[in-house]
């Protein structure tokens, strides 16, 4: 017994010493003191504690750089041009930077550690990005794994965005998840409704944020959002037909775009290809039928890749890429807007390219 206690005591003591050493090292080695950050050559300056990533340092100052992956160097969205004060570009960043960006010292702000005074350049419109604490007004089951989340902004606050852009959604700790995570979701509501944000969230098995929305969130809860972000929005000046392709929760930005075009009375012809596996994965059919009535230029083409027995499906079948290939002839005067999984995007881009679409007439958000 004494031996067991002595062992437990010794191992605990050694762990304790190691923990103390690491804490001291952290305090001493990771303490970079006060640093000054200069944004846009004197446009805004502030002083803060060093030692964290540039992304989190800036977000603490309410400057929100877009980021979909939450600082893991996997989305490549949080680019910032660093004029002075950063080290060399890390191997983790290189896949996301073009040769020109590397020359200009554009960095992923989640990978840059603030160690000394820095001067950075960020686009002015990022200053327009705001943070909101909204209230969940509605949580609607669209399919067995997709929910529509309607968030009301606080009294008196409005949001100004372009249809197609996305918001960052912050979770709260729930169940076994002890941390706050944030993820990017496209806005599904039209810009004309500037007091609400609709998001469409599909449950990803094991997903932290989607699990939060599906399992923990209740009507009346407060949620934190920031945005809008992104350059996925309507161009359309040189096109008379818009081809929209989405799968699953990718309907969100397309819904916003179609409402926006219909409300503004633009005269683009629109064909919206919406892919799902079986009947139980389809949603928003009535809403799309309603939009077809309001906007005679709009056609909704849902397609099932693998209808289940008993679906009695009379619409299009086959993979969404095959359906698109069957319907499209030529790219003259057309632009394409895509939203879906990375695999679906790549397959759709390949099909569109083979139909003659150039890369600068295809728009999408990849995250």
């Amino acid at each position: 017994m004494a031996e067991i206690l002595q062992t437990i005591g010794s191992v605990t003591g050694i762990s304790l010493v190691l923990a103390v050493i690491i804490s001291l090292a952290e305090k001493w080695l990771n303490n970079y003191g006060q640093v000054n950050i200069d944004i846009n050559r004197g446009g805004r300056t502030f002083t803060t504690e060093g030692g964290r990533s540039l992304l989190s340092t800036l977000s603490e100052q309410k400057i929100f750089i877009p980021s979909a992956c939450g600082g893991k160097a996997t989305c490549g969205l949080c680019k910032v041009q660093v004029l002075s004060g950063s080290g060399v570009i890390l191997p983790t960043e290189i896949p996301y930077l073009t040769a020109q960006e590397q020359k200009d010292n554009v960095r992923l702000s989640c990978q840059v550690k603030v160690k000394n005074d820095m001067a950075i350049l960020i686009p002015e419109e990022l200053f327009n990005i705001k943070e909101f604490v909204g209230t969940v007004e509605e949580l609607r089951d669209e399919t067995h794994d997709i929910k529509l989340l309607r968030i009301r902004l606080p009294e008196g606050e409005t949001v100004k965005f372009k249809a197609g852009q996305f918001m960052q959604f912050y979770t709260k700790p729930y169940g076994k998840v002890k941390e706050t995570v944030f993820r990017a979701y496209s806005i599904a509501s039209p810009p004309s409704d500037n007091t609400h944000i609709d998001l469409i969230v599909r449950l990803v098995p094991g997903g932290l944020a989607t699990g939060y929305v599906h399992q923990a969130l209740q009507v009346g809860d407060e949620v934190r959002l920031s945005g809008p972000y992104g350059d996925f929005y309507l161009r359309g000046e040189n096109a008379d037909e818009l081809i929209m392709i989405a799968g699953g929760s990718g309907l969100a930005p397309i819904r916003s775009l179609i409402y926006d075009i219909t409300e503004k009375g633009l005269d683009h012809k629109i064909r919206f290809f919406f892919g799902a596996v079986a009947r139980r994965d389809l949603y928003a059919l009535e809403e799309m039928a309603q939009l077809e009535k309001q906007n005679p230029n709009f056609t909704f083409i849902p397609a099932l890749s693998n209808p289940a027995d008993g679906d009695e499906w009379e619409g299009e079948t086959g993979r969404i890429t095959d359906v698109v290939a069957r319907h499209l002839d030529g790219a003259e005067g057309k632009e394409a807007y895509l939203c879906g999984s990375p695999g679906m995007l790549d397959a759709c881009i390949a099909v569109l390219n083979s139909k003659g679409f150039s890369d600068d007439s295809i728009f999408y958000d990849k995250f």
Partner: protein
């Protein structure tokens, strides 16, 4: 039975590169050796990081073993304690490197967390304990083991780079041919055996 404690530290140094190489004779640290060896540049980065960590952990673990574990009479807990010490050291080395050698950190930083679980590191510590090495022996054993590991992964990476465009039978491409090359290199290193004996 060899009298380990009587061997000169310099003999141990050369032996741990040539005749008792961590990879080619003991087959330790194979996971990162096989996966990070497709490019010479990254392989040499990983090799440097492993060498640094082996040397530092050997020294610290030798001190911990002789001045903490043995007096406390908890030798049978040494595996857990060594792993804790290695993990803590890697953390501290990473922080210190980030602070004082940022360029080196940019090159080696991503490898350091990977190394915590490299079995060559723990293997080197355990060998030095089992063979009852003294302090200087342990230090040179660490340096030699690290350099030997570094050399082996660089050789493999150089061969794999030259082989990148070679036409291989499909069944051999990738891991298959890598194991064969490693085996051939190990055979070649048998040629050194007999020069020194430390195990």
């Amino acid at each position: 039975m060899i009298e380990f404690s009587a061997i000169s530290p310099f003999v141990i140094f050369f032996a741990s590169i040539a005749t008792s190489n961590m990879i080619l004779n003991n087959f330790l640290g194979m996971c990162s050796y096989l996966t990070i060896s497709s490019e010479y540049k990254t392989a040499t980065g990983l090799g440097k990081a492993v060498t640094l960590v082996i040397v530092v952990t050997n020294v610290i673990n030798w001190l911990v073993y002789h001045y903490v574990i043995v007096p406390l009479n908890i030798e049978y807990m040494r595996y857990i304690i060594f792993i804790m010490v290695i993990a803590a050291l890697v953390q501290i080395i990473e922080m210190a490197m980030d602070r004082y050698l940022p360029d080196l950190h940019a090159n080696l930083g991503i490898f350091l967390p990977l190394i915590t679980v490299n079995c060559a590191i723990l293997g080197s510590t355990l060998f030095m304990i089992i063979r009852l090495y003294g302090f200087w022996q342990s230090l040179l054993f660490g340096i030699g083991s690290g350099l030997g590991w570094w050399m082996a992964i660089c050789m493999l990476a150089a061969i794999r780079e030259r082989m990148a465009r070679a036409k291989l039978p499909p069944g051999l491409a990738g891991a298959g041919i890598t194991f064969i090359i490693t085996g051939l290199m190990a055979l070649a290193f048998i040629g050194f055996s007999g020069i020194f004996t430390i195990q």
